[in-house]
Symmetry: C2
């Protein structure tokens, strides 16, 4: 069904105020979730309908634990990942402006996490930097050779400045994002094959079996994506003090972000020119399917977002939207 952009925003603001988030935090959450909603990512609605969104329960303010001219390590104090990473991205940009490089780690940030990692990578890229963001999340993904949970679905986002809008890759390292599995469960749909295992290690297409006690596969179902998933798990958690695979306290989520100024190397202007030439070349290649454009990372999401802004409307599954609205009003 068609839903007004402003109607969804207003509902979402109400939800987070009702959950007792301070007004400034509710506004930050709304900004990041609206970025997701415009891109057709309704993870936050699915979360609310499936298990409920978390009530504000931060033990304390976000604290700078360690700082150098290049880096900071934040203890998020149980604040929601969105608010911690939003703050961290601002710190990152101001440090990178001074030094040409900056890195920020967060631990003790709280589920359901950061929202779309691409939001922060894009923010960093808008300042002219290459932005790379790793987000720890609920341990749901099996490494190659096992069917047991070890890694988060750990999205990685990379933002690249171009001559127009930033190009943003934002992908889970699992075969499917966890919220898409939850979405299939809500809709009563089965998953495609080769997405996950049940508790006995048997491949299953039943979303519930995966979510309750099974595991997701990594995205190429083999050692390459499993190796990358392990590395990103270490970046998001082992390097920041977030919870590790197997930790009993699995609510301490970690995040890592860094920014690189192309001026350290070929220069900002040359880099953007090189990126634009690379993009133009790729877009001009022969297509495997003449009817299907060659898509850049994040391109479809960006087109969706522009449409949502132009029409001030979103297309949302009717059942999902009604269930979301009912829980709030």
């Amino acid at each position: 069904m068609k839903v007004g952009l402003k109607d969804l925003q207003s509902l979402t603001r109400q939800l987070y105020l009702k959950l007792e988030y301070p007004e400034a935090q509710a506004e930050t959450i709304l900004e990041v979730l609206s970025y997701a909603h415009r891109r057709g990512n309704f993870q936050s609605l699915i979360q609310e309908v499936a298990v409920g969104s978390p009530r504000f329960n931060a033990q304390r303010d976000i604290v700078m634990e360690k700082e150098t001219s290049l880096s900071c390590l934040l203890d998020a104090g149980g604040n929601i990942g969105i608010c911690a990473l939003h703050l961290a991205a601002d710190l990152l940009v101001s440090k990178a402006k001074m030094s040409g490089f900056a890195i920020v780690g967060i631990h003790n940030s709280s589920p359901p996490g950061t929202g779309p990692a691409g939001y922060y990578a894009e923010k960093i890229a808008r300042e002219g930097f290459i932005g790379i963001v790793f987000c720890g999340s609920s341990k749901m993904v099996a490494p190659s050779g096992s069917s047991e949970r070890a890694f988060g679905s750990n999205p990685i986002a990379i933002g690249i400045p171009t001559g127009r809008e930033p190009m943003v890759l934002d992908m889970a390292t699992s075969a499917m994002p966890v919220f898409k599995v939850a979405e299939a469960l809500i809709k009563g749909e089965m998953l495609p094959p080769n997405v996950g295992y049940d508790a006995d290690g048997v491949p299953t297409q039943a979303p519930k079996k995966i979510l309750v006690s099974g595991a997701l596969m990594t995205f190429d179902r083999g050692p390459k994506s499993s190796g990358l998933a392990l590395m990103f798990e270490l970046f998001a958690n082992a390097l920041t003090g977030g919870c590790l695979p197997g930790d009993p306290d699995n609510q301490n989520w970690g995040n890592l972000a860094f920014a690189i100024d192309p001026d350290l190397l070929v220069g900002r202007e040359a880099f953007v020119k090189n990126v634009d030439r690379t993009i133009a070349y790729i877009k001009g290649l022969k297509r495997t399917d003449p009817a299907r454009d060659i898509r850049l990372p994040g391109e479809l999401s960006f087109i969706r977002s522009e449409q949502a802004i132009a029409t001030q409307e979103l297309e949302i599954d009717e059942h999902l939207f009604r269930a979301y609205r009912e829980r709030i009003l």
Copy 2:
């Protein structure tokens, strides 16, 4: 057949001296290629037998074009990638020791490239840093949605310090490394399905069709690995001044490497402890095949290398080794 480690080293040294490399360069090349050979990677033998190794043809010495306390940009002056990245990794480590982070870009390095990217990532990790290495290479890989060449097979390597040996992920972003396709061609073997396209964009299992005028697929055959391959292409080349997809001068290869000191975040000791705990947890997971150990990135290569050192012998395809020896003696 069994070949003595020292015999292969001696042959390889002869080859590079015969190709008129200065003695110091020949020793560096030998060191890096021996690292590959011990791991069962005979890319340099295949290269020599299939098309010949490049004669020393550097236009000039490697030049520091730009330097900050965190970074340097090198013009490799047509020197072979191995020698340029070997030097860059040393510069990187000494800068990272001062600043906690360093980044090095190279352009104008020469085919056949750097040898295994993992060699350099491991070197960086031995100093206690996280090492990440991107290597440009011959444009042979089609982005998702096309069957035409655009990217290099662009290996990425990530080296992580642990309580024992560094853990090293070293992977091509193509469905198969180019040298493995060349190896199949030499052996007269067909490839598995879903590795590459012929010149007409039809999937093919014939290595020659891929190498001469076709293209390789990216490693998950879809948009995720294609997105990563594009990003790594930009890091290795657009950020360093290396050749871009579609450039007529495709002999100017770029490389990017960076080093991150865990002391910027959770601290070296805590990071290594967290990595070791993560590794131990993963190794203890239930296996999908009880007879097959869960392998960490680079683990099989490391075991092979230790065996080669212990036995002083390598197992090499007889035809390949004889053909290699004949060309040198």
